[in-house]
C-alpha cells in the first residue's frame, strides 16, 4: 500500500486548478507573461499530483473521501480507484501539453485563455473523481461552461455560429441529465453511486419501468457527450471551429462521456442491478458500429484537415465504445487502452493540424496542393506518423489498440459484423489520411515557395506536438506493462462489491418520502 501523503490529496486535482484560475484572474489579469508562468507551473503540479494519486491507487484499494466528513450517501463522496486515477493522469498530461502549446501564441488571441483552461481541468478531474450522480452533473457543467468560452477564444463569426449550436445542444443535454437524475432519485431516493448500486436491485416492480426510463435517459446524455451516432453531429462543427489547442483539450470531453457510460453502466446498472441489469448493453455496440461507419465516411469526404481530424475523432469514439459496449473484462481492458491511445493521438493530430494550417497561409487547412512549404519535410513526416497512429497501422499504439479490440470482440455475439465494420472502416480511414497527406505534402502547386515567417517559427509548439506523438509511441513500446495495469483496472471496475464496501453508504432506516397524504 502506498499511502497518500495526506488523504486530502484526492481533492487536489479539483482545488488546485480552481485556485489557480482564481489567482490568474484576480492577480495577473493584465500580465500575460506571469499568467503563463503560473499556468505552466500549475499544470506541472497537477501532473505531479495525478502521478501521486495513481501510485496510491495502484495497490487496488478503492479510496473514498467524504467531503465535509459527511458520511455517504448524505454528503458528496469523491472516489479514487484505478480508473479515476488513470483518467486524471491522462487529463493532467494533455492539460500540460496544451498549456505549453498555447503559451507560444494562442493565449494572446483573446483574453483569459489560461484561467478558462484551468477551470476546464477542474471540471474534467471532478467528473472523473466524483462518486455521486448529481455531483457528476455539476462537474459536467463546470467543464462545459469553460469549454464554451475556450471554444470561442479568438472570436470570429464562424466560431460564434458554431458556438451557439454547441451551447444549445449542451443546454438540452443538461436538461435531459436533470430529468434522468430526477427519475432515478424519485425511484431510489439516493444519488450516491455506491448507494444506487445497492438500491436499484430492490426497487418495487411497479417502479421498474420508471427506473429503466431514467437509466436510458442518462445513457442518452452520456452518448451525446461521447458523440455516439446519431448524437454525433454537433462534434465536427464545434471541434472544427475551436482553436487547435482547445480542440486537443476537447479530446477529453468526449472521453468523459465514454467514462461515464463505463462507470454508471458497470457499477449502478451492471449485472447485479436486478430488473434493470445491463440496461445499456443492447444499445451501445450497434450505435458504436454506426459511429464507426459514419466517422470513416466523414474522413473520406473531408475537404479540410480540421474536418478530417474531427471525423477521425468520431470514428475513434466508435471503436472505443464498441469495446466498452461489451461490458465484460476483455472489452473494458481493450477499451481503456484504446482510450489512452485515441486521446493522445487525437490531441497530437489537432496540434499538428493547427501547426500546418499556421504555415500554409491562404490555403490554411483545406486539402489542396500549395507551393512548397518551409519545413515541409518535417510536417510531412509528422503527419505521416500521426496518420499511422490515428488510423491504427503498426508500429504505433493504434495498431495495438485495434488488435486488443478485435481480440476482445472475437467471442462476442455478432463478432463477424463487428470485425467487418472495424476493419473496413479502418481501411477507409487509412485511405482518407493517405489522400490528404499526398495532396498536402507531395503535390505542390506551381508558384514561389512559401517564405518562412521568422516570428512564427517558434520551436516549442512543434516540440510539444512531437512529444505527444512520442507518447503514443511509448504507449506501443510499453504495451505489455500498460495492458497489465489496465487489466487490473478493468478487474477492479467489475468488482463492484469492493467499491460498495469501500464507500459503505449508511443505510437509512426509512426513506423520508411517503407519497401523498
Amino acid at each position: 500500500m502506498t499511502p497518500l501523503p495526506f488523504t486530502g490529496l484526492i481533492v487536489m486535482p479539483i482545488v488546485l486548478p480552481a485556485l489557480t484560475a482564481a489567482v490568474l484572474v484576480l492577480a495577473f489579469r493584465y500580465r500575460l507573461d506571469l499568467q503563463r508562468i503560473v499556468s505552466v507551473g500549475a499544470a506541472a503540479l497537477l501532473l505531479a499530483v495525478a502521478i501521486a494519486l495513481y501510485a496510491s491507487a495502484r495497490d487496488g484499494d478503492v479510496q473514498p473521501y467524504a467531503l465535509g466528513n459527511w458520511p455517504a450517501p448524505f454528503g458528496i463522496t469523491l472516489v479514487l480507484d484505478r480508473l479515476s486515477a488513470t483518467m486524471v493522469l491522462l487529463t493532467a498530461l494533455v492539460g500540460l501539453a496544451v498549456t505549453l502549446y498555447a503559451i507560444t501564441g494562442w493565449d494572446r488571441r483573446g483574453r483569459h485563455f489560461h484561467p478558462l483552461l484551468q477551470f476546464q481541468l477542474m471540471g474534467l478531474s471532478g467528473a472523473f473523481l466524483t462518486g455521486d450522480v448529481f455531483n457528476l452533473f455539476v462537474f459536467f457543467e463546470v467543464m462545459l461552461i469553460a469549454s464554451y468560452a475556450l471554444m470561442l477564444h479568438g472570436g470570429g463569426a464562424r466560431r460564434l455560429k458554431a458556438g451557439l449550436t454547441y451551447v444549445a445542444i449542451n443546454l438540452i443535454g443538461s436538461t435531459l441529465f436533470l430529468f434522468a437524475v430526477g427519475v432515478i432519485y424519485a425511484v431510489t431516493g439516493t444519488l450516491n453511486m455506491a448507494d444506487l448500486a445497492a438500491k436499484v436491485a430492490t426497487v418495487a416492480p411497479a417502479d421498474e419501468a420508471l427506473l429503466r426510463t431514467g437509466a436510458l435517459l442518462l445513457l442518452l446524455v452520456f452518448a451525446l457527450k461521447a458523440a455516439l451516432v446519431p448524437l454525433h453531429w454537433w462534434l465536427p462543427g464545434a471541434y472544427a471551429a475551436a482553436p487547435g489547442p482547445v480542440a486537443a483539450m476537447f479530446m477529453l470531453m468526449t472521453k468523459v462521456g465514454a467514462y461515464a457510460i463505463l462507470r454508471v453502466y458497470t457499477l449502478v446498472f451492471g449485472v447485479d442491478a436486478g430488473a434493470v441489469a445491463n440496461v445499456a448493453s443492447p444499445w451501445v455496440v450497434p450505435a458504436a458500429l454506426l459511429t464507426l461507419a459514419l466517422g470513416a465516411a466523414g474522413v473520406l469526404a473531408s475537404r479540410s484537415l480540421t474536418a478530417l481530424a474531427c471525423f477521425s475523432v468520431v470514428w475513434s469514439m466508435g471503436s472505443l465504445l464498441t469495446a466498452f459496449g461489451l461490458f465484460d473484462f476483455g472489452g473494458i481492458a481493450a477499451g481503456l487502452y484504446y482510450l489512452l491511445h485515441s486521446t493522445l493521438a487525437g490531441a497530437a493530430l489537432f496540434l499538428l493540424v493547427d501547426l500546418v494550417a499556421g504555415v500554409r497561409d491562404g490555403a490554411a487547412d483545406r486539402i489542396v496542393p500549395t507551393p512548397a512549404l518551409p519545413q515541409g519535410a518535417l510536417f510531412a513526416g509528422l503527419f505521416f506518423v500521426a496518420g499511422i497512429a490515428v488510423a491504427g497501422l503498426p508500429p504505433l499504439s493504434g495498431f495495438v489498440g485495434k488488435l486488443l479490440l478485435l481480440d476482445a470482440t472475437g467471442s462476442a455475439p455478432g463478432a463477424a459484423v463487428i470485425w467487418t465494420v472495424v476493419l473496413a472502416t479502418s481501411l477507409a480511414v487509412i485511405l482518407g489520411f493517405a489522400r490528404a497527406g499526398s495532396t498536402l505534402f507531395w503535390k505542390t502547386a506551381p508558384g514561389p515557395a512559401v517564405p518562412a515567417r521568422p516570428g512564427r517559427a517558434a520551436m516549442l509548439p512543434t516540440v510539444v506536438c512531437i512529444a505527444v506523438l512520442g507518447a503514443t509511441a511509448l504507449l506501443a513500446a510499453f504495451a505489455g506493462p500498460v495492458t497489465a495495469e489496465l487489466d487490473a483496472t478493468a478487474r477492479q471496475l467489475l468488482d463492484t462489491a469492493a467499491y460498495r464496501r469501500a464507500v459503505a453508504p449508511v443505510q437509512s432506516a426509512a426513506m423520508p418520502s411517503g407519497g401523498t397524504p
Binding site: A157, L164, V167, G182
Partner: protein, 122 residues
Amino acid sequence: MELLVAAGIGLLTAVGLYLVLRPHSFTMIVGTVFLSYAVNLFLFAMGRLTLDRPPLVDAGATSYADPLPQALVLTAIVISFGMTALAVVLALRGFLETGSDRVDGGRPDPEPAPTDRAGEAP
C-alpha cells in the same frame, strides 16, 4: 394535485421542445428557458408531493418531507441561469456580427419592407 403538476410540467416541456426546434436563436433560447423551468419543477416533484410535513427533525412529526430536492433545484437554477445568460450574449454577438439570427444555416430573413407611416400612404 398530481394531475395539475404533471400536466404543468408536461406543457412546459412541450412548449420548450417546440421552441427549441425553431430556426432562430431567440426562440431557441426561450425554449431552453422553458425546458429548464420544466425540469426545475420536475426535480421538486421528485421528492413526492406532500402537504404540511416538516423537512427536518421535529419531535411531533410522524413523517417528513424530502429535504434534498430543494438543494438540487437551487443548484440547477443557478447553472441554468448562467448558461442562459451566456447563450443570450452569444446569440447577440452572433446576430451583430453576421446580421442574422438563424441557427439552422438557412438564408437570412429578408429585411422587412419599410412601412409607410399611417395616414401618409398614397
